[in-house]
C-alpha cells in the first residue's frame, strides 16, 4: 500500500496533535459513565462496556446525554490522566464539540469510508487536527 493511501483528510473540531492506539465504539459515548480512575466504560449494554478508553484514540459515532455530563466526564478523566488522546467522530453536536474544545482534547470528523474500512481496534494512528490529517502508522 502506498504512503498516500495511509493518510486521510479530515476536518478540525478541536485543535491538537496526538498519536496512539485506536479503540472503536459502535455506540455513541457519554463520558460521565466512564470510571475516571480507570477509563473503563461502566454503562450497561454499551459496546465498550468493561473496556478502557484511557490514552487511546477514541473513534465513535457521536455524543449523547445531557448538556453537562460530557464536560464533567472528560474533566474527571483528564484529572486522572485517563482521557482519550484524541477523538474521531461522525456526528458532531454542540455539547460534545464544546466539551472537547474546553477540555483541549483534539477532535476531528469527516473521515472517508476507506478510512473506516481499514480501521481496526489496536491499530496505531496519528491525528493532526491542526493540519486536518489522520495517518495510519
Amino acid at each position: 500500500m502506498s504512503i498516500a493511501e495511509r493518510s486521510f483528510k479530515c476536518h478540525r473540531i478541536s485543535e491538537g496533535i496526538a498519536e496512539g492506539e485506536v479503540i472503536v465504539s459502535k455506540d455513541d459515548i457519554m463520558f460521565y459513565l466512564i470510571n475516571p480512575d480507570t477509563g473503563v466504560v461502566i454503562e450497561k449494554g454499551h459496546d465498550l462496556e468493561g473496556r478502557s478508553i484511557a490514552g487511546k484514540i477514541l473513534v465513535f459515532p457521536g455524543g449523547k446525554g445531557s448538556s453537562v455530563v460530557q464536560a464533567d466526564g472528560l474533566y474527571q478523566l483528564s484529572m486522572k490522566q485517563n482521557a482519550p488522546k484524541a477523538m474521531i467522530i461522525q456526528n458532531p453536536d454542540t455539547v460534545l464539540v464544546a466539551s472537547a474544545i474546553i477540555m483541549e482534547v483534539p477532535m476531528v470528523d469527516q473521515l472517508n469510508e476507506i478510512f473506516y474500512a481499514e480501521l481496526t481496534d489496536g491499530c496505531v494512528i496519528r491525528v493532526d487536527a491542526n493540519a486536518e490529517t489522520v495517518e495510519m502508522i
Binding site: 461502566i42 457521536g62 445531557s66 448538556s67 474527571q76 484529572m79 454542540t94 464539540v97 464544546a98 474546553i102
Partner: protein
C-alpha cells in the same frame, strides 16, 4: 467566522480577559460548524451542575473578570440550607455548593436553580434567538415554543451569556430546522410516562430531527418535558416535531421542508416494554425510597402525589424535587403539609444527581424518570422505573410488584 469590530475586540481582550476566553471558545465552536457570523441572543439558560468541571470553568471565567451580559437562569445543584440542616452533606460537599453559588452569583446569573425554566422563569417567544443548555430545555424551547437555540453545553451557554452572542449555525437557521426522521408511533401513549419511554428510543431513532406521527393532542407540558429529557439521555437532540401539534410542523410537507425523510422508524408497545426492561431494575423487590422531579415536577404533578398520599403513611422516603416557585405554591396550597404528614417531602433547587443523595448509595429507589435512574448510577443509586401512580403505590407499600 467573520466578526464585527466589537466582537473582534471581545476576542482580543479589550473587554476583559474573561470575555476573551468565552469568545475564543465560541469562535472555535462556530468554526467547527462552518458558522459565518455571530448573532446576538436575548436569553440564556446554563445547566449549572455543581460538579468539579462546572465549578472549574465558572471560576476560571470569574477570575478572568467575566460578567454575564445576558443574565442566564441556572440549573439546580442542591439546596444547601435544607441538606445542611438535615445533616445529609459533608463539609466538603457543602463547601462545593457554596462555591458554586458564590461563583454564579458573582458572574451575574439569575439563581433560579431549576431545570424547567421554559415554563416558569425564562420563557422565550417564537423565533427568539437564545442559548439554552439542559436536556429537556433545549428541545422544549425549539420544538414547543419555536424559539431558537443549538443544543448548548452548559459551558458554551455560559460563554454566550457572557459575550451576548452565539455563532450562527444549526438550529438557528431556517433550513436546518426541518425534520428528517419520520417516527411513526404505534405505541399507546396513555400517560406522561409513556413519553419518557418514547424519548428513550434514541438508539432506534438515530441521529437527526425526529418528526413524531400519531401522537394525539392535547399533549401535556409534562409529556413534552419528559420526551425532551429522555431524548437527550438516550441520544443528542436539539429539536423534534410533533405532526399537527408543534408550531413548525402543521403539515407533513412543512415539517420535512418538502423533502422525503431520510429514515422511517416505527415505535410499538413492544419497543417501549423492551426498553423499560433494559433500563429498570427488576420488579418484585423491596424499595428504599421514591424520587420524583427529574426534570423538576410541576404543580400538577405535585397535586397528583398529594392526592394519592393524603391521610396515608408512606413506607419509604419520598422526595419531590421542584422549582422554588412550585414549592412556594405547594406550601400555600397545603400540598407540602399533606406530603410531609405522609412522611415525604418537597425540596426546591435540587437535582437527583448531587452529593446530597450519597446516603442513599447502595439502595434501590423507584422513579418515573429514566434520566433520574441513569446518571446517579455513578453515585451507586439504583432505580426501578415505573409510571407515577405505580411509584406512589410502591412507596406506600415499601415494595414493588
Amino acid at each position: 467566522v467573520e466578526l464585527t469590530r466589537y466582537e473582534q475586540e471581545m476576542l482580543e481582550g479589550k473587554h476583559g480577559e474573561g470575555t476573551a476566553i468565552a469568545m475564543k471558545i465560541q469562535v472555535a465552536i462556530g468554526e467547527s460548524f462552518y458558522a459565518k457570523r455571530m448573532v446576538p441572543i436575548t436569553r440564556a439558560h446554563v445547566a449549572l451542575s455543581n460538579q468539579e468541571a462546572d465549578l472549574w470553568f465558572a471560576e476560571k471565567l470569574l477570575k478572568a473578570g467575566a460578567k454575564c451580559k445576558i443574565p442566564p437562569t441556572v440549573n439546580p445543584g442542591f439546596n444547601l440550607n435544607y441538606f445542611k440542616n438535615a445533616g445529609k452533606v459533608t463539609d466538603e460537599f457543602a463547601s462545593l455548593m457554596q462555591r458554586t453559588h458564590d461563583t454564579y452569583k458573582a458572574l451575574g446569573a439569575v439563581l433560579s436553580y431549576n431545570c424547567t425554566p421554559y415554563i416558569q422563569t425564562n420563557v422565550p417567544f417564537f423565533g427568539e434567538i437564545t442559548a439554552f443548555s439542559e436536556s429537556s430545555a433545549t428541545p422544549y424551547i425549539n420544538s414547543v415554543w419555536g424559539a431558537r437555540s443549538n443544543r448548548e453545553a452548559a459551558q458554551s451557554a455560559l460563554c454566550a451569556a457572557i459575550t451576548g452572542v452565539v455563532p450562527e449555525y444549526g438550529l438557528l437557521l431556517d433550513e436546518n430546522r426541518h425534520g428528517d426522521v419520520l417516527v411513526k408511533v404505534e405505541a399507546d401513549l396513555k400517560s406522561d410516562f409513556e413519553y419518557q419511554l418514547l424519548g428513550y428510543m434514541g438508539k432506534k431513532i438515530g441521529p437527526g430531527i425526529p418528526v413524531f406521527q400519531g401522537l394525539k393532542s392535547p399533549i401535556t407540558p409534562e409529556a413534552f418535558m419528559n420526551l425532551g429529557a429522555q431524548l437527550n439521555t438516550s441520544g443528542a437532540y436539539g429539536m423534534f416535531h410533533v405532526l399537527g401539534v408543534t408550531p413548525e410542523a402543521p403539515t407533513y410537507e412543512v415539517a420535512f421542508g418538502g423533502k422525503a425523510p431520510k429514515r422511517t422508524v416505527i415505535i410499538t408497545n413492544e419497543d417501549l416494554q423492551e426498553i423499560l426492561s433494559q433500563i429498570s431494575e427488576p420488579g418484585q423487590q423491596k424499595i428504599d425510597f421514591a424520587m420524583f422531579g427529574c426534570p423538576h415536577f410541576t404543580l400538577r404533578q405535585v397535586q397528583i402525589i398529594a392526592e394519592k398520599v393524603e391521610g396515608k403513611t408512606l413506607a419509604t422516603e419520598l422526595w419531590v424535587l421542584t422549582s422554588s416557585h412550585t414549592k412556594e405554591m405547594a406550601d400555600r396550597m397545603g400540598l407540602t403539609t399533606i406530603i410531609q404528614n405522609a412522611g415525604g417531602d418537597i425540596v426546591s433547587d435540587t437535582c437527583p444527581d448531587q452529593p446530597c443523595w450519597h446516603y442513599l448509595s447502595g439502595k434501590t429507589g423507584i422513579t418515573d424518570s429514566p434520566k433520574c435512574a441513569y446518571y446517579p448510577k455513578r453515585r451507586g443509586l439504583s432505580f426501578v422505573i415505573r409510571d407515577l401512580e405505580t411509584c406512589i403505590e410502591a412507596a406506600l407499600k415499601g415494595e414493588i410488584d
